[in-house]
Structure formats: structure tokens, C-alpha cells
Subunit: 493 residues, 4 copies
Amino acid sequence: MFPKDFLFGASMSGFQVEMGYAKGDLDPNTDWFVWVREPENLINSVVSGHLPEYGVGYWYNFPTIHKLASDFGMNVLRTNIEWSRIFPRPTYDVDVKVEQTESDITSVQIDERALRELDELADKEAVEHYREIFSDMRKKGLKVFVNLVHFTLPIWLHDPVAVHKRQETDKLGWASKRSIVEFAKFAAYVVWKFDDLVDMYSTFNEPNIVSQMGYVMSVSGFPPAVFDTEKFFATFVNQIVAHARAYDVMKTLTNKPVGLIYAASIYESTNSDAELEESVGQFMNFAFLDAINSGVLLFQTREDLAGRLDFLGLNYYTRTVIQRSAQELSFGLVNMNWSIVPGYGYSCQPGGFSRDGRPVSDFGWETYPEGLLKLLRMMNERYALPIYVTENGVADARDWLRPYHLVAHMYAVERAVEEGLNVKGYLHWSIVDNYEWAKGYHMRFGLAETNYQTKSYNPRPSMYIFREIVKELSTEKFRSYLSSPYQIWRQKG
Amino acid sequence: MFPKDFLFGASMSGFQVEMGYAKGDLDPNTDWFVWVREPENLINSVVSGHLPEYGVGYWYNFPTIHKLASDFGMNVLRTNIEWSRIFPRPTYDVDVKVEQTESDITSVQIDERALRELDELADKEAVEHYREIFSDMRKKGLKVFVNLVHFTLPIWLHDPVAVHKRQETDKLGWASKRSIVEFAKFAAYVVWKFDDLVDMYSTFNEPNIVSQMGYVMSVSGFPPAVFDTEKFFATFVNQIVAHARAYDVMKTLTNKPVGLIYAASIYESTNSDAELEESVGQFMNFAFLDAINSGVLLFQTREDLAGRLDFLGLNYYTRTVIQRSAQELSFGLVNMNWSIVPGYGYSCQPGGFSRDGRPVSDFGWETYPEGLLKLLRMMNERYALPIYVTENGVADARDWLRPYHLVAHMYAVERAVEEGLNVKGYLHWSIVDNYEWAKGYHMRFGLAETNYQTKSYNPRPSMYIFREIVKELSTEKFRSYLSSPYQIWRQKG
Amino acid sequence: MFPKDFLFGASMSGFQVEMGYAKGDLDPNTDWFVWVREPENLINSVVSGHLPEYGVGYWYNFPTIHKLASDFGMNVLRTNIEWSRIFPRPTYDVDVKVEQTESDITSVQIDERALRELDELADKEAVEHYREIFSDMRKKGLKVFVNLVHFTLPIWLHDPVAVHKRQETDKLGWASKRSIVEFAKFAAYVVWKFDDLVDMYSTFNEPNIVSQMGYVMSVSGFPPAVFDTEKFFATFVNQIVAHARAYDVMKTLTNKPVGLIYAASIYESTNSDAELEESVGQFMNFAFLDAINSGVLLFQTREDLAGRLDFLGLNYYTRTVIQRSAQELSFGLVNMNWSIVPGYGYSCQPGGFSRDGRPVSDFGWETYPEGLLKLLRMMNERYALPIYVTENGVADARDWLRPYHLVAHMYAVERAVEEGLNVKGYLHWSIVDNYEWAKGYHMRFGLAETNYQTKSYNPRPSMYIFREIVKELSTEKFRSYLSSPYQIWRQKG
Amino acid sequence: MFPKDFLFGASMSGFQVEMGYAKGDLDPNTDWFVWVREPENLINSVVSGHLPEYGVGYWYNFPTIHKLASDFGMNVLRTNIEWSRIFPRPTYDVDVKVEQTESDITSVQIDERALRELDELADKEAVEHYREIFSDMRKKGLKVFVNLVHFTLPIWLHDPVAVHKRQETDKLGWASKRSIVEFAKFAAYVVWKFDDLVDMYSTFNEPNIVSQMGYVMSVSGFPPAVFDTEKFFATFVNQIVAHARAYDVMKTLTNKPVGLIYAASIYESTNSDAELEESVGQFMNFAFLDAINSGVLLFQTREDLAGRLDFLGLNYYTRTVIQRSAQELSFGLVNMNWSIVPGYGYSCQPGGFSRDGRPVSDFGWETYPEGLLKLLRMMNERYALPIYVTENGVADARDWLRPYHLVAHMYAVERAVEEGLNVKGYLHWSIVDNYEWAKGYHMRFGLAETNYQTKSYNPRPSMYIFREIVKELSTEKFRSYLSSPYQIWRQKG
């Protein structure tokens, strides 16, 4: 049984759902907007060629989507406020008090005056529109979970094409320290403007993915797609500091919880190599979070970072199966002695079965629900924080796999709750099909199908299952999915 | 839109759902009970080896299943009364008035005395139990649709093993004319005993399949599995006459409608050979029904058969794709100049796609929803009768295909209604997984999944779709299924 | 290494290869000729509908095929003399001396007079034609391996349709004891007429398959396809006695070796159930051979049967995977407590992989080369006889699988030789594609492809491999096939 | 029929086959040697991680491989001389006479003195070793076809990592004009040193691929993998000029033919868009060759380039299926209005079938033999030159597809010859499996399988077919492959 106050809902992001009519809802001021139409990316097929402006249309249709959420039993929705919409032009000139050591920014303070100056720079229409969105959520009985940055950055802060081409630019995104200060301004402003309508905040969605895909996996289609281990570390650290500084300014303005959303996975080796699993998992899952929770940043103690987390958001899709490499790769600071094993986790052929016999999504991701339970146990043990599953779902246009997938993962959460873990909510990715970054409209993650022509949203069978689980506060009714026809993991879990 | 009084429900049959606990619910007195445990069938894998007595358990669990029907929006259920349960021993000795010509039985009359004698032979506990079942249906708001024979015959009337082995026997089932008389007694007795609880009757379910599978397709696993074209014709004609005689006696006792349920298909040729489609379809779809509707039995006029149909029940699963044979096969009376083309209709490899790119069920049956609309148009044009779709569904353990299948077929029915055809109801096969004859428990046709261990019945996602369609009286909400991802047949239909 | 005198060749059978032009080469006088055009079989698709008279055309083209054999390194060919061609009419009236006990025929003696009477009944043209065939084999450097019965029987001896329909008939084939006497006559006559041209004889090809497919697996398409355990045992025993009586008369006329060809398999259980493997293997592999080798016929000692085997021919295609049944089936004399596990051995889906990951042929047969080595060890240990692999091959139209299959099985034989087993030859099934019984021309077993229109025979790549192995007397050159890409069985073998 | 003097052989390249023992045969001085161990490439999986130094081992085992070629009927082998082996250090300081216009190098002259200076710089052991290789070829009856550059460049001429990272470097490979001069020196030196052993020369292998993969398809794994349309054009033009200057100096030293090897394809649109096929094919197939044949370089007439081709080498693997794009992409000078259609040509899923039902290789390349005939007709019509098919083959580890593939493509060549086209030879790619660039040892293109552990080379079945075709001078014997089981293209071709 889930408790009565458990949060059930879905997550979205601005860039992925807002645009749709390519008119008043257009936001051309993000790095991603530029990135998905860059010819180099198109000719190399690292982006889909789909245009985000012909998408879901949430900017105008939010009441319909909120009603859908409400009708199907949800009590929370997460989305983010697009920085570029609020501040389509730079905020550099707004003066704020910054303290820094030789190497880092240790404090940013934003006073009333600064907030007023920001207000002058802000797009008032956009502010008002987001207020309408959040008001409507509340009206429909949905808690409002606001995230600040979900991948996209204002184009005045990050020019991904210039960085990719290694051209001279000062628009370096998270690779530049000054982004930290601007982010603190944005964060403070959001709280100042929206706090009456918000239930909980997070600063970042998956900052680790931003670093990893942007600066290491340089053929993945993520901006700026440049292999640069220095920039990888810079963005990794700068996002940590940016979170802490934003947290500080936000908490001067609100008592509501401020958390962070992390992309976690379970690292399993093919030959039960516990040492390898430990060392890889340590970096991939804990290094970032340890910094903002315990103030340990890569072996260094940083009091200015510690204790900056009111809750932990976890996005979980599948495991990662790894093995030791024959040869160690050396990248400046880092040596890498492991690699990913194809045929498992994120590295499967779409649509079939993994090497373990588990069903694989349209994206090529393995269904591995026991990993979610494992993850919740692990995170609960390490961090004394309330945990929300902030993303979990499956790209499955035909809804073949989603009924099983949904039940199995919600069962994992239910079980975690029953074990006494401090898990407070489950937000599915996503309520409706939307723009899946480099894959565009090819990947369909919605509980409801989006018809992009008519802007209508049709519940898939899974959505009825979701409603039923929420109504019963239990997966009990659908547990037959757990034993057949794919996997009997209940015994093993 | 469906009209408000449209019947939405499901069909079952006694042998397929009643037994489950192998105790008080056991009925060992049918030909099929013997047939599925006959060693020759087992060693040749023409039957599954599954035992019907460990099945659904409807005999005791009917209230649960009726509640499920009611909860998910159904307003009618069809099942049959097992002849063998009511009369476990022969009824030959009950004297009734039979008139016959040289070749056929033209009248059977059953008076009160005969009914009382039958009553003495009847198993009163079984009678009472069926009354409880039907009463409960009514209590749950379900119309009671009672069928008389659904494949099984009492073992005292049909010894399928003896017939198969061509041993001397007088238990010939429908190959013997005296079965006609006994059936009339059974039919009369049922009306006499149950009429207060029944809304509509049918005499037979798929009599054409009984002849075809039993006496032609002799490796199909249907009793008595003997290739014998004379017996094929005898059973074909005797079931026609049996229907007419039963209809006559029933109508002396009730005003409720008496119909018949026919297994129909759409016959399409690979090269648009209209003449072939016409001639094959003529025999396969119309020969039986013409006899009891218009009194034309294979070129002969028979007034004693005409007008014996108050409504027509149609079971539709898929089409049949045919071609002319290189050589004509000669079977005594009949020459056969066509054959079935593999890769379409009933002749596909399970689980993949047909040669036309349509999804195929676990049974190897092609999804062909436009065939249902075509069939309804054709039948409506030929027979001025109310039509019920009395079976339609798909073997799909994982419910991958059923959401699409269900919506597409219900859309076909909705469209038929909108075209003004006299279609009155849609009964899905089936409400819960059950014993699929020669395939046993391998094929799962339920809107709800049957857990055979715990005797619990878990709604699959499709069942929520069914409920939604019934609620809205339209498939509108789910029409996105019709265009993707399989087929855009809406334009073509 | 194979020894220099090792026999390398191929096997054929008369019915499967002789006809092709449907004129002078036609032999309509066999049970199989009738069987494959019987309407009941056609409409049930238990036979292919292909006509054997449009086949390989060996009757006229034998020189081409013998040249092919010779060009590709073969030194032996096996075929059989069609009984029905030599004696198109009954030989009952030729008087011979028969001794019998109450239950069995213990001796048949055929003197010069009887042989002359047979000669008058024989079709002299057919005799002469077979002599030409064998002479040509010799001319091309091929040893002549003559088999007497390869499934087909003269229609005057076996009416499969009557038996199937359980009609009264005295044409019972091997179910009748008098077939034993007629077979002895045929055998004696063959030796008397052809001995100067023959190198080795066998009486029967796969008598166990004749019993099993004909009288138990009654939907398999083998005549007479009637489930009858008494006839099963009768044919089993009568073929044993027929072999012994034929052996006796043949040995009075020749010193050349007389053997028998048996369809063997390896019986493996899914759970290493040694007791089950032992008991099933005992009956399936040894019961028949024990009788004619050791004189032990189903627990009874029979001196008149013992020692009637000069060599043992083994046909091997794949293993049989078995399991204990939940329930024991009882068939009169026999109880059967096991069943075949689908997904292995003969019970796979065509064209993919078995549940063990081994490649599967067009026929649905698993590639299991280690079984051949296991079989040779087992048979060599039990019987102190020279062994020939008389059939082994794969249905593989595209020659995708055959290169691996051929090398792996010939490697098994080579290894058996190196272990000191008394293995003397390897005859591939087959040299050219031919008529595969119930499957007709669908299954292509040839090292060369038969073009049935032009009657030309094109070597497949495998045939070049075969030639190379024969030339080198070793599979060494091709052993890379053994480790990749399918199976590393060399280490395990 | 092929003519008696037709060249049948195979192609190799130095980098792909020479190394194997990682000792005396090691050549670490190429851009590719560095490239395949660059961490960025490894972590992104754009290279295989396989090391070329554990490869075929041709440097020492050339006699074995030459014998294999000779044993299987070949009369020619092509390989290249690795520039980096002959000149492991820069040749810049050797003074030669260069004439240039404002924009281009129009003449390079290399006199005896310069050749002697080059000789001092050259690695004499390497020179001697290549002479042994070519001598052995001749001894085995193989014509010696020497290519100069097959993708690899000396590391002193091209630093792919620096270029990729857009670091300052003067080692720009073909993007720098001075590479033209150094190449002329290398070309002259090769002729001066090896001409007595060589039968025919080519300057480049697939210069178009070097430009396209290196500077446009920047995620393909080809160095330097940088999207740069200016460099794309520079390398395209500089290779043209380099060919012409090398041709000039070579012809002062030899009378033997000097050609160039081009990677050609057939461009087909999905909707028979002749205009699109024409315009795309024009650039992709003709722009480079027109320059060195007719002196037309991108609309400019260049007499210093015209007539520099004695023969044309064509590498053909499959077609390219294209369609007009919805949007035109603009890349500086060029607008691109078309894109490649997935599911055909090079863009298939490995191992299955293309959208046209044609078998697909391990590499994901469609089998499209009619394209080769189409190509030969097209090239023969445009250029009045002898044509050699210098590469054609298939990645097929199991030799499932190669028999068909080989016969179908050699049939295309045979037919071209019979139509009177000036086609002189067919060189298969390749004689043995080797290092397939970014795919390493994963792709197996050999007629013989390379065992990389033992350095042995086992002929696959296809190699026997190749021998047979060469012996018969015709594909006649194997033409059954053309009609079954894949495609009947003979009628259509």
C-alpha cells in the first residue's frame, strides 16, 4: 500500500512540451532550439530533424493537459520555467554581491533592489503566463513542482555551435563560472515571483547528463557535443556550485523545499565484480550528490556546499551493465578502466529483447524494474532525505510494453514504501508524448498519445492502469504482470 | 454513436468456463471431456494435454465474474446450458410425437407429459444451479442470453473415439437423425424450466464448425476427427433440421427470440477473382443460414425449415484468403477447386505479421477489422433479421494487440450501426481467459486474465478501454488506434 | 584423419529420385504414389500436394548424377531397388518352403525353381535398367550399396487408404505376416540377378520410422496414418522377422555383407534424468537392433533372429529432448511416461535457433553434431559390427547452414575413427535435392541443387567443402567452422 | 564468358593487412594508427577498440597469401605501398621544381638528383621488403597492381587528432596544398624503385571517401572527423591535383598504366525522381573523375588536369537510395536538398533484409548486384577508358550470403563484358578477412577466413565458387543463385 498522501503524477519540461503552434508560443532563444536545426547535426543524423515548434502545444493547451492529469488520478505535475522565456536577454548587468575564493564562488546575495532590476529585464507576459499555468494546476487539485533548468540554457549564456566548433566565444554555458551568478539571479527571481503558487522546487534536472553527454559522449546529439574532459569537469563542478548558490538565495525567500533531480542508474558487472560496481557506481551516482549533501567535492571538503538539499529527485530508466576494459583509457585527469557491455541497459537493439531476455523499448532501453528498488534502497541508505521518483517511463508507441513496465516499476516503489524507505512520490515520464531531444518525436513516452496534428491527447491503456493503481493505492490488482510473460523478478527483487 | 439500448457484453460456453475445482463442478459426461484425454490425441499433440477440470471455475465463481462484467459496463452475458449436466443419461425413452418423410424429420411435438418425464430424468441440482447463475446475472443488471449447444454433446449421444476409430457404434452425434429428436426434447425442457430468467435463446453455436472440423479437417483436434464427406453432409443437414425442430417446440413455450450463432468469415481471393469469392462465400457463409431462413436446403425447398430464425448471431475472427487450385479435388459428391493461401487469415505464423503486414495473434490469426464491417453489410443485406456480433476477440496473452483489435472491431460495429444496419449488440469473446478446446489454456482470449491457480480474474488494459467505449457509446476517444501503428483502414473500410 | 579406404558418398532412394519426366520413368504401383494424391491428405495439408513424377529424373539422368558424385570425390552411392518396379504384380503364387511356429515364421527357403518362377513375373526391362544404373556406378568408380526397401511397398501388398479408413483389406503391408515371405522372395531374386554388380546390401531403411510414423504419429503424413498400437507392434516385429528371413536367403546366394539401416537419435532429458534417458533410449535405439543382432526380441530369446547383421547403417539427423510427463498415457500394452520437449531436436520452428541457441534447418531440425559422436560411441560399444553413417544432412535451400553442418558432422565421424571406433563410411543425405516424402519438394537436402524444370544439378558451396575434406581425408582445413559462429562444441564433445 | 586474359583477383591495403605480430611488422607512423587508439574515439565507440597490430600478418606471411590467391585461380593482386613505411620522416627538404598559379600547383618536376635525395631519406629495409613481396607475387603468377595511397597518411603529414580538436597544426593532410608536392615525390620514388616489378599503378583509393567521411560525416569514425565544408572542398580538389601531378611525374619514368580507384554507387530515388538522381549522381560519381579525365573541375576548365587517367578502377558495394528533403540545408557554398532513405543501400539494419526484401550484410549493406551492371554501363559510356572492378565484396562472417553475392556480382561483370563494355578485371574485396577501419576485426570480408590467433587463412565455400568461375570463365554453373532464393534480377537487369 502507498500512503494516502503519496504524490502520484508526471513530469514534463518546457522545451519538450510548450511549443506547438509555432506562433505566440515560440521560444527561439535557447541553445537547443539552435542545436536541433544546425546543418552539421542534421547531415550526420545526430538530431532527428524534427522541429520543436510543432510539438505538444502545452503553452496554450495546459488546461486540457491538467484536466487529463486530474481525471486520471494525479495529484502533482512537474515542469520547469524556461529561463530564456523569463530573461530573453542577458542579466549580467544586474549587480549582486558575490564572494569568491581564488577558485570558486562561495556566496551570492541578491537583495530587493537587484530583484527589481531583474523584474525590469523580465518578460512580463511570460511571467504572467506561467502564473496562469500554475494557478490552473492548483485549481485542478495538482501540486505544483517547479524545476528551474531542464537542459536548455538561454542562447545569450550558451552558444553550442561556437563551442562545438571550438570557436572563440564567451557563451560557454556551465563551463563558465559566471553562469553560476546568473543562475542565482534567475532562481531568486522565480521564487520572488511565483512562490505563492509553488509547492516544491528543484534547481536542476539531470545535471550529470548535461556534463556527460555534452562533453564526453560527443556523438550523442547533446549540445555542445565536444569531447573535452576539462569542460566536463568544469560543468560538473559549476553546476554543483550553481545549485548551492541558488539554494542559498532561494531559502532567503521561501520555506518551501528545494531539491535537485539526478539521473541515476544501477551499475552491474557481467561477472559480479563487486569492486568495479562499487567504484563506478560511486562516481556515477554519488559524486555530485555527496557534494551538495555532505560537502565533499572530489576529496575536498566544502562547507559552502554542504546541506543544500531538502529532498532528492531520482530519474530512473534502466541499469548499466559494465565490464573492466582490457586497456585503461587516459583522459588527462582521469583514467577509465571500464566500458559498457552492449545488449543490456541503455545499449540494446530497439524493440526486441535484451541479452537477459528482458523486453526492450523503442529507444533500445532494457526493462529492469528491480533496479529501481535497488536504487531506492541505496539512495535511502546514503542520504537522510525524502526521495521522489521524478522520472520513470518507457518509449513505447504501441503501448505493448508500458502496462507491464508501469506496474513493475510502481510495484518497486510500493515495496520500497512498505520497507519503510523515505519515498514520497512517483512522477511518471510523461503524461503525454513530447519532444525527446535528439530523437524528436520518434520516441513516445506518454501515458497519453499526442496527436501532433490535432493537438489532442488520447489516453493509452496504461493510463487506465495508472488511475486504477492510484485509486487502490496499490499495484495489487495488476500484479499478474510481474510474473508473466517476461520476468519473475518478484521472488528475486 | 451506439444507441443507448445497444447490447455490450461477452460470450462464454459451459465446457470452457464452468469447471475449475475438479470436484462438485466436474462434468465428465461430454464427448469433449473424453476427447481431450484420449491417448491418440495426446501423443499426436492434436490436443493440448491440458485438463478442463482445472479451469476458470465459473460454476462456483459466477458471482465474481458477473460482477466483473457489470463493473466494466456490460449489460449482457451469453453462456450455454450443458446438455450433459441436465441430462447425464439418455432421454430416448421419453416418448414424443415425431413426423417424418422418407428422408427427414419434419415435426416433433413435445407435450406437458413428455416434459414431466424429462423432468424426472433431469439432474435437479444442475437445473437449480443454472437458475442461480441466471438469477445472479439479472441481479447484476445483465441480460441473459442462453445458448443450447456449444460444441459438446452428452457422451450417451456421441462417442467420438469409437467414431474416430470407425468402430461400430450408435452414438454418432449429429451424424444420426435421432439426435434431432433428443435435441428437441432438451430445447423444450430448457424453455419450460428457465424461461422466466432468460432474455434470448440460441440453439447452436457454430454448427458449421462442428461439421467442418469434425469430418473434413481431420487433423485439427476436433472430435471425432474422421475424414468422411458423407458424415460431413449428414451433420450439416441434421443440425439444420435439429435447429428447426427445436425452434418449433421452443416457440410453443415462449415468445422470446430464438436465434442461431454462425461462424462467418470473409472470403477474399489473392487476385480479385470475384467469381471464386462468390461461389466459396455462398457455400461457407449462406448455405446453412439460407435453409433455416428461406427454406432452401442445397437447391431443395423445405417449408418445414423456413422462417425459423428470430435473429442472427455472428462470430467473426478474421478473413479467409483463397485461391483456385491447380487441380480439382474430388470427394464423392463434391469437387473442391480452391485452397486457402497461407500467410493470411487463420493461416499465419503466431505472433508476427501477416503477408499483408497486419498483426497476428498468439493463435496465428490475422487482425482484419474491415472484414467485420464487410460481413455485417453482407449479412444485413441478405437476411432481414436483427444481428448480434456474438463472438469477436483475440488470443493475446500480453494484451499487446488487443487494445488496437478491440477498438478497430468495435469501430466497425459502430460504423455499421451508423450506416443503418440492423445490428443490436456486440459480445466479446471473452470476458476471462478460458479453455480453448484443442489448444487448452495456451490461448488467452480474456478481457481479464484468469489466474488458474488462485481463480482470480485481473482486468487487462483492454478491459478499461471496453468500459470507456461503452460509457461513451462510441469508439471516438480511441480512434488513434485505427490509424497507427498498424493499418490505416479507416479510409479504406 | 580418415583412413584411405574410408567410404565417402551419398544416399538416395528410388521413390525420391527416380521419376522426373512422368513418362517411361513412371512407377504408379507404390503405396506412396497413391498416398500423396489422396484428397483427405491434401485437404488436411498432411502431404505437400507435390507430385513425385516431376522430380529429379534419376531413372534417365543417372549418368549425370554418378558423374557429379565422382567429380566431387565420392566413392560410394546408396540407392534402393523399387520392389514395385521389379514385381509390379503379386508374387504370392510362387511357392516357397516356409517353416513356422505357432506365432512366427522361422525359416523361408527359396530354391532355383522359385527364382525362375519369380523371373517370369519380374519386369525384365526394369531389371535391365537397374543393371545399367549399377554398371554405370562402377564405371565411375563408385561402390554400389543396394538397399531393398526404402519406405515404399508395392500397392498389391499395401493399400494405405483402405487401412487408413479402417476398411476391410488384406493388403496390410508389414502388419501382415505374409509380407515376410514375399519380401524374402524379392530379396533372394535381387541377389540372384544383381550380385555381380553389388558391393553391399541392406534390407531396410529405417524400419522403426515405418512403424512409428505409420501407426502412432497418425497426423504425420506417413501412410497409413492410423493410430493402432497393435499394428505398431505387428509391423515392428514383422520387419524384424522379414529382415532375418531375407538375410538367410540372401546369404545362401552371396558372400557380400548384408546389413540394415536404422534411424537413430540421441535421447537427452532437460534435467539430466539419466534413468529416463536410459529407458527411452533403450527402446528407441536398441530394441529392434538387439533382436537381429543378439536374438533378444522384447524379453524373448529368438535364435532364428540372432546374428543376422553384417554391418550397421545409422541415419542421424538430430537429438530428441524429452521429459517425464505429468501423467502416464496408456496404450493397451504400453504405458508412456515421457514426452518430447518443443524447441529442441526435431521440434523447432524452422529457420531460427533452438532453445539452446543452435541453428535450425528449413525443416525445423536442430543442428546437434555432438550427438553423432555420442551415437557412434554408444552403438560401437553395444554392437561388435562395422558401422556406416548411412544418412546425415540438412534441409537448407540457401546453403547457409550446410557448410557448418557438414564440417561439424564429418568432424564427429573423423573423431570417432581416431578414437578407434569401427566406423567405415559416411554417406550424406543427399547428393541432390529430391522428393522429401510428405514435404515434397519443399525440403532441399542436396549437396547440389536440383533444378526441377531443367533437370540440372548445381553443386552448392558445401559440395566443394565435401570434396576438399575427402581429398585431404580430414576436416582440418575447415575446422574454424566448429568454433564459430554457432557453437564451441569441440571442447565439450 | 569472360575473355581468357580477364584479370581475376583480390584487393588489399597495407594498413589493413600488413601488421599482425606487433614486432618487426609494426608501422606506428600513420594517422590511422594514432586515430584508432584515441580515447575520444574509443569512449564514443566510433572506432572498434581493436588494434591493427594484431591483424592479418601479411608483412611476413605474404607467401602463404599469394599461394592461396594462386591456388584459387587468381591472376592479379592489388595492394598499396605504405607511404609512412617508405618515408617515416618528412620529405619536405628535398627540393623539387614546382610551378603554380595564384591558386594552384600546375606542375611538379622531379629529377634524378631529387630521387637520390629521397633515396637517402627512404627506409631501405621497407623498400627491400616490398620488392620481395612483389617478386613473390610474380613468382606465383600474379600480376602486381600497386596503389599509392589507401586512406593512411604519414603522421608527419596529417595529425588527425589536432585537426579534429581544431588545434593549431600544419599537419593538415590533404587539406594542405603542400601535400600535393610531397605526394608527387613519393609517387616518383615508387616508380623509380619498383617499376621492374609492377604491372599497373593507381594513385589513390577512394579519394572521395576521404573527403566525405573525414570532413562531412563527422561521426563516422574516419579521421579527422571534423565537420568543415571548406576542408571538404580543399581535400576534394587537392587530391585531384595531387593525382594529376603524380601522374605527370610517374609517366616520365614508366610506360605502365596509371589509374585511379573511385568509390562509386548508384543513386536511386524512391519515387523515380530522374532529375534528383541525375543531379546527385552527377556530383557523387562524376565530379572528381571528370576533372582528371576531361579537365573540368567544378565548372572550370583545367588543362593541367585533363587526360591524366589510363584506366578507371571502380569500387562498388551497394546503391544509395535518396529522396528530396523537406528543407534545404545550407553549408556555406553548398545547399543540400536531398537525404538518404534508411532501409536501403548502406543504411540497413545488419543481418536482415532491406525494405526491398534484399539480403543485408553484417555491415548493414544491401545486396544490389544489378547496381554494378548499371554502374559499368554508365561509366563506360562517359569515359573511354579500360575499367577494372577494383573492389566488390560483402561482410559475412558465416558465408551465408557471399555465395549468392559473389555469383550475382560476377554475373553482372560477365554480362557487361558480353555487352561489349571495356571491362578488364574483377578484384574481390578481399582475399582474407582484415582490419576494417573503424569497425576493426568485426567485419569479415574475406574469401578466406583469417584466424587472427594462429595467422591461418581458411577458404570459405565462396572461394571454391570463385575458383570454379575463373576456371570456367563463366558464372553459368552457379546461375541458380541468381533466381533463388532472394531475387530474380536476371530478367530485370
